[in-house]
C-alpha cells in the first residue's frame, strides 16, 4: 500500500521545527507504525538525510517509551493501542498521515518526535510509593485483599507512563497519570496509611512541573492506550481534598 507521511522535524530544542513530507509507495499492511518509520529511516540514511528520531523500546505496548501524535490523536486512531502496536492495516491505501511529537508545556521537545517526560519521574519521586524499606515486610498473605479491590488497583496500576493523557488534554494536565498512581496505591491496604499525603505531594509536584489544571474534558481517557478510567480522577480528588484540608497528620 501507499502512504504519505507528514512528519514533524526539529533538529533540537531551539530549532523552530517544521513538517516534512515523505512518500512511502510500498509499505506492507502488516508492518507496525514504528516499523514503517524504520523503513523510512533506512531510506533517509541511504539518501544521506538525518533519520527521524523517536523514542521506543519494548515495541509491545508496555514500556511507554513510544508516543507520537498520529493524525491529531496520541498513539493514532486505534483504541487502546500504543504507536508501536498500531499496524498499517488500520490505514487505507493512499492515506495521508500527520505525525507530531507530544505537545505540552511540561514536555519540552528534544528532537523530532522525542520529548522530555522526566516530569513524570519527579512526580513519582514526590510521593508515588509505599514507604516500605527492603526487609520490613510481613508475610504476603498476612493482609487479605479482596479480589475486587486487587482487580481495581490493577486497572489503575496498568498505566505505562507514556504521557498520551497529557498530550491529549487541551490544558496539558497530568491528572490521569497522577490519579492512576494515587488510586492504585490508595486502594490497597498496604498503601492506605500514606494515602492522603501521597495525593497532596504528587499534585503539588504536578503543579510545579507546569502541567495544566483538569477541567474534566475527558480527552485523556479516550487517548489512554491502557484505558485508565476517568473515575480514578474523582477518587483522587477525594483523597486530595482530605489531604490538603486535614490539618492533623494522617489518622484513619
Amino acid at each position: 500500500m501507499r502512504l504519505t507521511l507528514h512528519v514533524w522535524r526539529q533538529k533540537g530544542p531551539k530549532d523552530p521545527g517544521r513538517i516534512v513530507t515523505y512518500d512511502m509507495p510500498d509499505v506492507n499492511p502488516d508492518m507496525s507504525f514504528l516499523e514503517a518509520l524504520d523503513v523510512l529511516n533506512e531510506r533517509l540514511i541511504q539518501r544521506g538525510e538525518d533519520p527521524i528520531a523517536f523514542d521506543h523500546d519494548c515495541r509491545e505496548g508496555i514500556c511507554g517509551a513510544c508516543g507520537m501524535v498520529i493524525n491529531g490523536i496520541p498513539h493514532g486512531p486505534r483504541r487502546a493501542t500504543t504507536a508501536c502496536q498500531l499496524h498499517l492495516r488500520t490505514f487505507k491505501d493512499g492515506d495521508e498521515i500527520w505525525v507530531e511529537p507530544w505537545r505540552a508545556r511540561a514536555f519540552p521537545t528534544i528532537k523530532d518526535l522525542v520529548v522530555d517526560r522526566s516530569a513524570f519521574d519527579r512526580i513519582i519521586a514526590a510521593g508515588g510509593f509505599v514507604s516500605v524499606p527492603t526487609g520490613s515486610a510481613p508475610d504476603g498473605n498476612a493482609l487479605p485483599v479482596p479480589k475486587k479491590v486487587a482487580d481495581l488497583a490493577m486497572d489503575a496500576a496498568q498505566c505505562i507512563g507514556c504521557g498520551a493523557c497529557v498530550a491529549s488534554c487541551p490544558n496539558g494536565s497530568a491528572m490521569l497519570f497522577v490519579a492512576a498512581k494515587v488510586s492504585h496505591l490508595g486502594l490497597l491496604p498496604q498503601g492506605r496509611p500514606e494515602r492522603r499525603d501521597r495525593a497532596r505531594k504528587m499534585v503539588e509536584q504536578m503543579d510545579r512541573e507546569g502541567f495544566g489544571a483538569c477541567t474534566n474534558t475527558g480527552e485523556c481517557e479516550a487517548a489512554c492506550p491502557k484505558e485508565i478510567r476517568l473515575e480514578f480522577i474523582a477518587r483522587m480528588n477525594r483523597d486530595f481534598l482530605r489531604g490538603t484540608f486535614a490539618e492533623r497528620p494522617e489518622a484513619e
Binding site: 524504520d38 511507554g64 502496536q85 522530555d116 513524570f120 519521574d121 510509593f129 509505599v130 527492603t134
Partner: protein
C-alpha cells in the same frame, strides 16, 4: 586468572545464613561516605539502588531509556516463582532448588541456586508490601499458577503484566530515594566503558544521549545490572535497546565472561511475518497451562485448523512427554517445534509455526475464564496478527528470549574485577544451561534486594580507597578510548546502515548458533563474523554528529560490540562438545534425538578471559560439584 567461587562451607541449608554472619559490616555512620554506581534500572538495578540507598550509601544510577521505569523488565508477562507453598501442593525450598538445578541441566552452582530458592519467599512479601497488585482469590489470598518445567503451582502473577508491576514496585522504591536525595538518577545515559584503577572497578565512562557529552563517574564500587544480550540475534523478544555493551566493555577490562553460548529460545512467540520485522513478540509461557500444542499429522497439510479432525492432529508434546505434556521446559518445547517443522508439518507462511489451541480450555472453562486469565495476551496476539485466538488457534514459533550466559560472578555476585558486581540477567546466573519460566524475575530481585546489599558491604568494609580524580591516567585513558571509538564510527561514512549489519549478523547467528548447532556451522560463523566486522568498520554509514541526540550512533556502538561478542558466543558453543539445556550440539544426541551431556568432561562453567585484540580469549573453567543432587539425565516423560 583464578576463579574463586567463594562458596561458604557448611551444609547447603546453612551456607547463606552463616555467610551473612561472616560478612563484615560497614558502620552505619560511614555508609554515606561510599558511592556506588549502578548501571541499569530493571528489576535487578532498581531493587539494588533502592536498597543500597535505604542502607545509607550514596548511589548514582544510569539507564539509557528516558525513564528508569522503562527498563526491559517491564515487558515480563507471566509471573515470578516463590517456594511459598500457598497452594499446599507439596512445594518447598528444596523442590524449587531441585527444579531449578534440573531445569538448568546441571550446569549451575548448587549453593547459589539454593540461596535463590530460600530468598524467593521474602521477595513476594516485599513486593506485596510495596503495593504490587498480584492476582487474588475471592477470599483475598494470593493466587498461584504453574509454569513450564514444574508440577506445582508456585508462580505469582499480576494479570499478564507481572514484570511491569514488579518493576514499578522497585522503581517507586528507588524514586523514593531519589526524592530523599540518596540516589542520583541519570536517565538517557549510556555506559561506554568501565574505569579500572589499581585493579579495582572505580568508575564509568558515560555518554549523555541528549547532548553527546562524555563524562566520567567515579565511585567505590560498580554494579552492572544491564540485562541480557538476546539482541545479538537481531530478532528476539527483547526490547530494541537491550545490548551487550556494558558487560562487553567490562569483559575487555578484565571481567571473565561465563557461558556466553547459553541462550534460551522461547517456544511460544508470534512467528516472523516479513523482512521489515523489527522484533518478535512473546506469548507468555503461562498460555501452555491451558493451550494445547499441535501440528497436522500429515506433511504439507494446508487445510485450515478447524477442518483438521482430531484424529489427524499430532499433539506432539503430550505424545512425547506424557507426564509434563505441554509444560515441558522451554528448550525441550522449542526443539520439538523445530523438529516437527523440519519434518514439513509446520503451519502458516513458510511452514515455520505450530498451533497453540485453546478450544478445549474454552469448552471446559468458558470464554470468560480464559479472557480473565489471558485477555491482554489474546488481544496482543490479535492486534499483531489480525487473527482471533478465541476462534482459531494461535500460531507460534520459537524465538531468542533470554541469555543464561553473562559475566562470571562468585557467590558474592562479584566479577573477576574486584569491586565490579554483576546482577540480574547480566551475570552468568543461577539458571545453568536453561532457565525455567518465572525464574528471571525472582533472580533479579533476589540479587538486588537481598544479596548484593549485604555482599557489597563486605567488600567496602575490607577495602581501603584512596580518592581518585578525573586526572588519573586510567580514567583519562578510558575516556579517550570511548571518544576515539565514537569518532571512528562517525568517520567511516560508508554505504550500509547499522541495521543492515545487525540484521545480517543476527541471521548468521540464528542459522549457525541458534536452536541447534554443529561444528561445521560454528566454524563457518567463526570465519564469517570477522569478515562482517571488517566490512562494518569499512562501510557503515552513521550520519550526524556526536553532539546531539543521535540514535544511529547509539545503535552503531551496540552493533559494533555485538560484532565482536558474536565470535565469543560461537567459540564457546564450539568448545562445549555436549548438548545441555538450550545448547544443542547435533553431534551429541542419542539415537532418539535426546541431548547428551558429558558430565565427565564438561561439568563446569566456561569463563572466558580477554587476552587482547590480537590473541584469542583464554578459557578458564570453574568445576561444578554437586553435593546435594544427583546428576541425572533430565527426563520429563
Amino acid at each position: 586468572m583464578e576463579l574463586k567461587a567463594n562458596v561458604p562451607d557448611g551444609s547447603l541449608e546453612k551456607k547463606w545464613d552463616r555467610h551473612r554472619f561472616e560478612l563484615k559490616l560497614v558502620n552505619p555512620a560511614n555508609k554515606r561516605k561510599y558511592r556506588i554506581l549502578v548501571v541499569g534500572t530493571g528489576l535487578a538495578g532498581a531493587s539494588a539502588a533502592a536498597t543500597l540507598a535505604e542502607l545509607g550509601y550514596e548511589v548514582e544510577v544510569f539507564c539509557f531509556q528516558d525513564s528508569p521505569r522503562r527498563a526491559h523488565s517491564i515487558a515480563a508477562q507471566g509471573g515470578i516463582n516463590a517456594a511459598k507453598n500457598y497452594a499446599n501442593d507439596g512445594d518447598s525450598i528444596w523442590r524449587l532448588f531441585y527444579d531449578t538445578v534440573k531445569g538448568g541441566d546441571f550446569r549451575s552452582r548448587e549453593a547459589n541456586v539454593y540461596r535463590l530458592a530460600q530468598i524467593s519467599v521474602h521477595i513476594i512479601d516485599q513486593c506485596v508490601a510495596q503495593g504490587v497488585p498480584f492476582a487474588r482469590e475471592y477470599g483475598g489470598q494470593l493466587v498461584t499458577r504453574s509454569f513450564g518445567g514444574t508440577q506445582v503451582a508456585r508462580t505469582f502473577y499480576a494479570r499478564g503484566q507481572t514484570g511491569q508491576q514488579l518493576l514499578l514496585g522497585a522503581y517507586q522504591a528507588m524514586m523514593r530515594q531519589v526524592g530523599a536525595g540518596k540516589v542520583r538518577l541519570r536517565p538517557r545515559s549510556e555506559m561506554l566503558d568501565l574505569v579500572v584503577v589499581d585493579g579495582r572497578a572505580r568508575g564509568l565512562v558515560v555518554r549523555d544521549l541528549v547532548s553527546g557529552e562524555l563524562s566520567v563517574a567515579l565511585g567505590d564500587a560498580v554494579v552492572l545490572a544491564t540485562g541480557g544480550y538476546g539482541n545479538l540475534f537481531y530478532l528476539s523478544t527483547n526490547a530494541k535497546g537491550s545490548n551487550v555493551t556494558a558487560i562487553w566493555r567490562a569483559y575487555k577490562r578484565g571481567a571473565a565472561f561465563g557461558n556466553p553460548c547459553f541462550t534460551q529460545i522461547h517456544p511460544t512467540c508470534i512467528p516472523v511475518s516479513g523482512e521489515y520485522q523489527s522484533k518478535l513478540t512473546l506469548m507468555s509461557e503461562s498460555l501452555r497451562n491451558d493451550g494445547r500444542i499441535w501440528v497436522p499429522q500429515r506433511q504439507g497439510d494446508a487445510r485450515p485448523p478447524s477442518q483438521i479432525p482430531e484424529n489427524e492432529r499430532d499433539y506432539y508434546l503430550e505424545r512425547m512427554y506424557p507426564s509434563f505434556g505441554n509444560l515441558v521446559p522451554r528448550d525441550i518445547a522449542s526443539r520439538a517445534a523445530k523438529k516437527v517443522c523440519d519434518e514439513g508439518r509446520g503451519v502458516g507462511p513458510g511452514g515455520l509455526g505450530v498451533y497453540l489451541d485453546f478450544a478445549d480450555a474454552i469448552r471446559r472453562l468458558g470464554e470468560n475464564v480464559i479472557r480473565d486469565k489471558y485477555g491482554n495476551l489474546f488481544e496482543m496476539y490479535e492486534r499483531i496478527t489480525d487473527e482471533n485466538p478465541y476462534q482459531a488457534p494461535m500460531r507460534i514459533y520459537p524465538a531468542v528470549h533470554y541469555t543464561m550466559g553473562g559475566l562470571w560472578v562468585d557467590y558474592n555476585l562479584m566479577s573477576t574485577v574486584p569491586g565490579l558486581y554483576v546482577i540480574g540477567e547480566a551475570n552468568f546466573s543461577d539458571h545453568g544451561a536453561n532457565r525455567l519460566g518465572a525464574s528471571a524475575l525472582m533472580q533479579g530481585l533476589a540479587d538486588g534486594y537481598f544479596i548484593l546489599p549485604y555482599t557489597i558491604g563486605d567488600y567496602l568494609a575490607r577495602s581501603r580507597f584512596e580518592k581518585i580524580g578525573p586526572d588519573r591516567p586510567e580514567v583519562r585513558q578510558a575516556r579517550t578510548d570511548a571518544e576515539t571509538r565514537i569518532q571512528r564510527l562517525l568517520s567511516v561514512n560508508g554505504k550500509r546502515s547499522v541495521d543492515s549489519f545487525h540484521r545480517e549478523l543476527g541471521r548468521l547467528m540464528w542459522d549457525d548458533c541458534g536452536m541447534s548447532r554443529n561444528e561445521k556451522g560454528l566454524q563457518r560463523a567463526l570465519s564469517r563474523i570477522p569478515a562482517l566486522r571488517e566490512e562494518f568498520w569499512r562501510d557503515v554509514r552513521v550520519l550526524g554528529e556526536n553532539e546531539q541526540l543521535n540514535q544511529s550512533l547509539e545503535k552503531a556502538g551496540r552493533v559494533a560490540d555485538f560484532l565482536e561478542f558474536g565470535e565469543l558466543v560461537c567459540r564457546d558453543a564450539l568448545e562445549r562438545r555436549e548438548s545441555c539445556g538450550g545448547h544443542f550440539r547435533e553431534e551429541y544426541q542419542t539415537p532418539e534425538g535426546d541431548p547428551m551431556r558429558d558430565d565427565a568432561n564438561l561439568c563446569h562453567v566456561a569463563a572466558w578471559e580477554y587476552a587482547g585484540e590480537d590473541s584469542p580469549p583464554k578459557l578458564n573453567k570453574e568445576p561444578l560439584t554437586f553435593e546435594s543432587v544427583h546428576l541425572a539425565q533430565r527426563s520429563y516423560q
